[in-house]
Amino acid sequence: MKKISWIIVTVAVMMACSGQSGKVADADSQDSVISMEVKYATFFNVRDSAGVRLVDIGRKDHFALVRSDDAPVPEGYTKVRVPIKSTICMTALQLSNFTVLQAHDVVKGITGTKNLFNKDIRQRVKDGSIVKIGMEGEFDTELILAANPDVIFISPSKRGGYDAIKETGITLVPHLGYKELDPLGQAEWVKLVGMFIGKEREATVLFDSVEQRYNELKSKVQSSTAKDQSSKSQNLPTVTSGEMHYGTWHAVGGKNYLAQIFRDAGARYVIDDDETSGENLEFEKMYALAANADYWRILNSYPGDFSYDALKASEPRNELFKAFKERKVIYCNMKQQAYYEITPVEPDVLLKDFVAIFHPELVEPDYEPKYYRLLK
């Protein structure tokens, strides 16, 4: 490994000196550095320039991943020496990237362990090799400094509190996977993490297989429902999502990545708007949209076994929905099943779970769903 990185460094320096604009990836295609192509993700991009890997994240953040400290870095780019040896994760989505790359040893801090199932991470938290730095907005700066990570992956949608960390001088890398509207786009962020921790080959292989499984099933669904989709007939099953809490209905928008999975699984999502994240709707609005939906997807944390009785007890009007009456609630309990910490890198499994419900004839008869199943 040391030898490899030495070769890379040499090649990079030589190329930089001679001013050639060759691709570094060609030189060491045998190593874990491979040329990187971003296919689905829209919030990060990768270019190789003069032996330096340039990564643009969003519009404002630009990083130059270098393998030696004296590598030239273009203006406007923040230099990051890779592979990084330690980092702090802010969200379950980021953590899923490390989990699937088997790189928990790089993670030195996380925000919390609520609803976290991964035994390895829990063990590491217990023995102190991963610290809990506190919630967004209330980070414990001392713990962060003590962990001394090379970079910190942040999630700018959250409550913030990053200014205090910025003061410490640690490089903050925004992980914008949550912004992706395409499930595969979200999964593709594993490549970004792979580049930072020197596991790009593994990341690419992993993503390619997810992509293949996802697209295979998606096209299977499309060809079998082609007639229904083209004629806009009402034959496609309809699905609604979310629950009412304290007077408002929490639903995901029509452009949310979950809505995309519904569509790819051959169902029509009742909300057809341009909202990308969650939205709060009034009961009457949601009821008018969803009263006759065939299926109703619910994800929550419920102690014990969730049931139709429990669903009705939480809000008496829930029984007015057709999916409730016909016992077609699609359910996943985050108290019993790891969810956010792993689904971002398994959109193919999510898709298959939904296809198994919407179009059971398209999956093998003995398919055992991992996340979602019909509530009994």
Partner: protein
């Protein structure tokens, strides 16, 4: 003259109630709504929207608005302080603390969040809110028996409120984000939480408690004169002070349990009623406050759900946004009249 004002108020409540039933994010033809209200045959979805969503919401708004307004009037009278309101004695903070314990702390202990315990469900929150509010109320009463001055009692009440808030802050800090969010959403306040049997129970409770509060009209009038005059007139100051505080506290506790903490109405509506009726006689003020409270709550509920806003605005923002200018205008105009008279 006063009678005609009551008629106007009553008519405006009826009009607002009808508007609340007619308008909403989903468009339903007026004719269909009338059919539904007459118990006629109509499609299932509009029927459910009107009877299970709009009607309960409007009735809840009426009951909650009236309850909070009366509670505020009682507090202002007992403490002879125009800035007093239901939240001033820390009673609503007590309710919030109760809910915080259920939503935030129970999740930490044994990993079982009470708030999601099926049949207990949201009922656990209501119970917690009532228990929290009554606990603070008991504390206040205990103090009120030992403290002479109203101002001291008021300050102690405010301190209890701060204390409750501080504990909530610590609980929030210790809790995972998801639970904190649930608590924040509860704190927004809403008239649309209750439906079905719960709504019936709430309206029935208010239907009993509000008339009971009216029984206190006489001692309240005397309290207004000041402690010395009142006791000269044969009033047992401590006892009546306690009764009024209990009545006010229970009203707030129950409204908060069902709707979350609704701000502003309790503080502002008594002023509106005083300005409209130009009296401090509680025989007039009590029903006037009740009517104004109900009307203002209906108006706010209507505005919060105006078509065009995607989803309902939080009621708490609307109460102050709509209420503050309305009440300021009324007070301002009265001041001008006073000058010209």
């Amino acid at each position: 003259m006063r009678f005609s004002k009551f008629i106007v108020l009553f008519v405006s409540i009826v009009v607002l109630l009808v508007l609340n039933l007619l308008l909403g994010t989903v468009r339903i033809p007026v004719g269909e709504i009338l059919t539904i209200l007459m118990g006629g045959d109509a499609a299932e979805i509009p029927t459910n929207i009107v009877l299970q969503s709009r009607l309960p919401q409007a009735l809840t708004a009426i009951a909650a608005g009236a309850g909070l307004a009366v509670s505020g009037l009682q507090m202002q009278t007992v403490f002879r302080n125009p800035l007093a309101g239901p939240s001033v004695l820390g009673i609503s903070n007590g309710a919030a603390l109760g809910v915080a314990f259920v939503v935030l702390l129970s999740g930490q202990l044994g990993g079982v969040a009470l708030s999601r315990l099926g049949y207990l469900g949201d009922a656990a929150m209501s119970v917690a809110a009532v228990v929290g509010a009554l606990a603070v109320l008991m504390l206040i009463l205990w103090v009120s028996q030992r403290v002479k001055g109203n101002v001291t009692l008021l300050i102690i009440g405010v301190m209890i409120g701060y204390l409750a808030n501080a504990i909530i802050g610590v609980l929030k800090f210790l809790s995972p984000e998801e639970d904190v969010k649930a608590f924040v959403v509860w704190g927004l306040g809403s008239f649309s939480r209750v439906s079905g049997n719960e709504m019936m129970l709430f309206v029935a409770l208010m239907g009993i408690l509000l008339p009971l509060a009216c029984l206190l009209v006489k001692p309240m009038n005397l309290l207004l004169l000041g402690d010395r005059y009142a006791s000269n007139l044969g009033l047992n100051i401590r006892r009546s002070r306690m009764l009024v505080i209990v009545s006010s506290g229970i009203l707030v506790a129950i409204v908060t349990a069902y709707c979350g903490p609704i701000m502003f109405i309790g503080l502002a509506v008594p002023h509106l009623a005083r300005a409209l009726f130009r009296t401090s006689d509680h025989r007039v003020l009590m029903p006037a406050t009740m009517f104004c409270g109900a009307a203002l709550a209906l108006l706010c509920n209507l505005i919060a759900r105006m078509p065009g806003f995607e989803g309902a605005l939080p009621v708490n923002s609307v109460t102050a946004l709509v209420g503050a200018p309305v009440i300021a205008t009324v007070l301002f105009r009265r001041r001008k009249d006073d000058v010209s008279e």
